[in-house]
Structures are given as structure tokens and as C-alpha cells.
């Protein structure tokens, strides 16, 4: 069996990061594709993540991960603490986890904004308890085009 490799991570930190991503770069963090015909046992790799920090505000994009459940983008709580906005786009929910390194921890992470775009929110609700440990969000914004 085999899998394509997961996409990597790209961090862009600049006062004009948005403008640069629009005009200066062609960015790709795609997972590697499975080029075989045996789809049952082989899978594409999960899409990687893009993190943008502009004027002190950090956003994390988890975009369009492929379906294989063993390919999570894992975010540990201390990393979550540094991120203000989380964008989950194009059905990346099944591959997005916040992995609690210490499950006995009672720390509650607050003040985060969660944006879900073009994703199956039903699926998210069912898995939310497992996905997010002690996290409360300021705002959850759902949009589907």
C-alpha cells in the first residue's frame, strides 16, 4: 500500500503578507497524489497548511485536505494559543485535529475565530468533541458557495 506525502507548511510573516500572496507568489502546499489505479488501499496525501501573520494577527489555513483519515493536520494546544483565526476550507474538517498532548489538561483556549468555508459542517459538529479539546470560539463563521 502507499500514500502520497502530505503537503508541507508555509509561513508568511510580513506587514503586507496578503498583498504579497496575491501578487508576488504562486503558493502550493498540496498533498502528493496517488498515481496508481488501486484506490482502495492507496490514497492521496493530505493538503498542507498555510499560515499568514500580518500586523500581529496570525491566521491558519487548512485547505482542501484529501479524504484519507490517517492524514490529519495536527495542531497542539500551545500552537493553537498563538493563532487568532483558523480557516478550514473545502472539506478539510476530517483531516483537522487539535491534538491534546495532555488529555488531563483543563486549560480552556478562548478568543479564537473559526471560519469554515465550503465544508460539511454536519460532519464537523459530530466530531467536534473529539477534535477540539477545551476550546471555545469567539465566533464561528460558516460560508458555502
Amino acid at each position: 500500500m502507499g500514500w502520497g506525502g502530505s503537503g508541507g507548511k508555509i509561513n508568511i510573516i510580513a506587514n503586507n503578507a496578503d498583498e504579497a500572496i496575491e501578487n508576488a507568489f504562486m503558493i502550493s502546499v498540496n498533498g502528493g497524489k496517488n498515481l496508481t489505479i488501486n484506490e482502495e488501499f492507496c490514497s492521496n496525501g493530505a493538503t498542507g497548511t498555510l499560515c499568514i501573520t500580518q500586523l500581529g494577527r496570525k491566521r491558519l489555513y487548512v485547505n482542501g485536505s484529501f479524504s484519507y483519515t490517517q492524514s490529519p493536520t495536527i495542531l497542539s494546544p500551545y500552537q493553537l494559543n498563538a493563532i487568532d483565526d483558523i480557516y478550514i476550507i473545502n472539506n478539510a474538517l476530517s483531516s483537522f485535529h487539535i491534538y491534546n498532548l495532555n488529555e488531563k489538561s483543563s486549560i480552556v483556549y478562548q478568543g479564537k475565530n473559526l471560519h469554515i468555508e465550503n465544508s460539511d459542517f454536519e460532519d464537523f459538529v459530530h466530531s467536534a468533541d473529539k477534535v477540539f479539546f477545551n476550546v471555545s470560539f469567539n465566533m464561528i463563521n460558516i460560508s458555502n458557495s
Binding site: 502520497g4 508541507g8 508555509i10 502528493g32 496525501g45 492524514s71
Partner: protein, 250 residues
């Protein structure tokens, strides 16, 4: 004794002096650190200078590249390949018509293992793990990507594929930092895992390998107060996962 004083001593002195003069980054002898000749070896290329570093139409291929300037770094028409590339400029970093590329080939140090199916790799480092429930500290693989601030790592840490199979190499690490600005024009900054889909010959060669996996995409950090760019000459910034081109084969 006289022979030593009159002949050998001046010769030894001249050799020593020549060595100093040949160092392109010695501020006592030059005001510019110019690298325009090919550097290809398996060692690390690491230095820090208060001079401006200019890399001019050349090839640098080493295990790790870590260059730091208190002034500027300018790269033109060049190719830099390594497992880890760290470029730090105190003023600005400019990249024209160049390729900065890493893959996670590790030959020594932290992260190295010769175990075929179990490896080492933080996010973007590429390695192999079987099921994510089995993860232990630092043991993430191509199916187990973690977002992590690798830029806070010790710059001398190596990273890359935990496996020994070259088609599973991860993407390595690229860190580009400048205090004032970073300028990009018509360049490639790539930290993609192996194999690339473009490499069809490689895919055909490894097609019958069991348990084959593409390497994880790498980690790229671009950090500065401002990013400047040539609006008509975009730069590709890529940290893709490697492709799987084998067949199911228990």
C-alpha cells in the same frame, strides 16, 4: 637554520596570507562577500558575516546552508540545494531568477535513522509513520503532518526523511528572514517531498516497491517587515507532498 629563516619562513608566511586573502567573507580584505564559484559537497556551508553576501550565477549544493549577513544578501541566477537552507539578512534579502530548493536527505545528526518503515519528521520534514495513533514524540511522518514553529528550532538541527529510500524524502526546511524587506523576482522556493510528479522516470523505477509513500512536503518560512516583488515575474513557493507511484503489493 639559515635555510629555514631565508626560504621556508617566507614561504609559510605567504601561504598563510594567501589563505586569508582568498576568504571572500573576511572584512579585513574585502567589502563584499562574493560567491560566484560552484560549491558542491556533503558538508554544511555555515557562516556569518557583517558584509553583504552576493551569490552570483552559481550552484551551491550542500547538506545544510546557513548564511547570515549583518547587511544584505543578494542572490542572482543561482541554484541553492540542501536539506536545510537558512538565509538571514539584517537589512534586506533579494532573490532574482534563482532556485532555492530543499529536500530532507539526512545523512547524520538528529532525525537520522536507517529503519525503513519508521522515521522521524516534524511537519514538513518527511518521514514514514504507519498509523497516527502510534505517534511518539518527534515521530511524525508523511501521513501525520503537524503544524509547528520549526523556525524556533536550533538552526543546526538536521531534518528530513526518516527512511533510507530516496523516493520518500521529505521537503526539508527553508527559512528566509530579513529585517527590512525581502525582494522576489522570477524564482522558485521549493521544499517539496519526493518524488515529484514531473519525475516520471523515477516513478517508473519505484513502481513495484511495497509500502511506498511520497515524502512529506517541507517547511518554508518567509519573514520580514515587508515583502517586495516584481509584479510580472512571480515566484513559486511550494511545499507539496511527494507522489505515490507504486502499486498495492502486500
Amino acid at each position: 637554520m639559515n635555510l629555514f629563516i631565508f626560504f621556508l619562513l617566507p614561504l609559510i608566511h605567504s601561504l598563510f596570507t594567501s589563505t586569508l586573502v582568498l576568504n571572500p567573507c573576511d572584512p579585513d580584505y574585502t567589502d563584499l562577500c562574493l560567491i560566484n564559484s560552484k560549491i558542491v559537497n556533503k558538508d554544511d556551508l555555515i557562516f556569518s558575516t557583517k558584509l553583504e553576501i552576493v551569490i552570483w550565477f552559481t550552484l551551491i549544493s550542500c547538506q545544510t546552508v546557513n548564511l547570515s549577513s549583518s547587511s544584505k544578501i543578494t542572490i542572482t541566477g543561482s541554484h541553492l540545494n540542501a536539506s536545510s537552507i537558512v538565509l538571514t539578512a539584517n537589512y534586506n534579502l533579494s532573490i532574482y531568477d534563482s532556485t532555492i530548493s530543499t529536500n530532507g536527505t539526512i545523512i547524520k545528526g538528529k532525525g537520522y535513522t536507517s529503519v525503513l518503515l519508521q522515521g522521524f519528521g516534524y511537519a514538513g520534514m518527511g518521514s514514514v509513520c504507519i498509523w497516527w495513533e502510534e505517534l511518539i514524540d518527534n515521530s511524525y511522518g508523511p501521513n501525520c503532518a503537524e503544524y509547528i514553529e520549526l523556525n524556533h528550532w536550533d538552526m543546526n538541527d538536521t531534518q528530513g526523511s526518516g527512511g533510507i529510500r530516496y523516493w520518500e524524502f521529505g521537503g526539508g526546511r527553508i527559512i528566509l528572514k530579513a529585517t527590512k524587506y525581502i525582494y522576489f523576482s522570477n524564482s522558485n522556493v521549493t521544499a517539496s517531498g519526493y518524488p515529484s510528479v514531473e519525475n516520471k522516470t523515477l516513478c517508473e523505477n519505484i513502481a513495484n516497491q511495497p509500502y511506498s509513500k511520497g515524502g512529506t512536503g517541507g517547511f518554508i518560512l518567509i519573514e520580514s517587515e515587508e515583502i517586495r516583488y516584481h509584479s510580472q515575474q512571480k515566484t513559486r513557493v511550494e511545499a507539496q507532498g511527494g507522489y505515490y507511484c507504486g502499486f498495492f503489493n502486500f
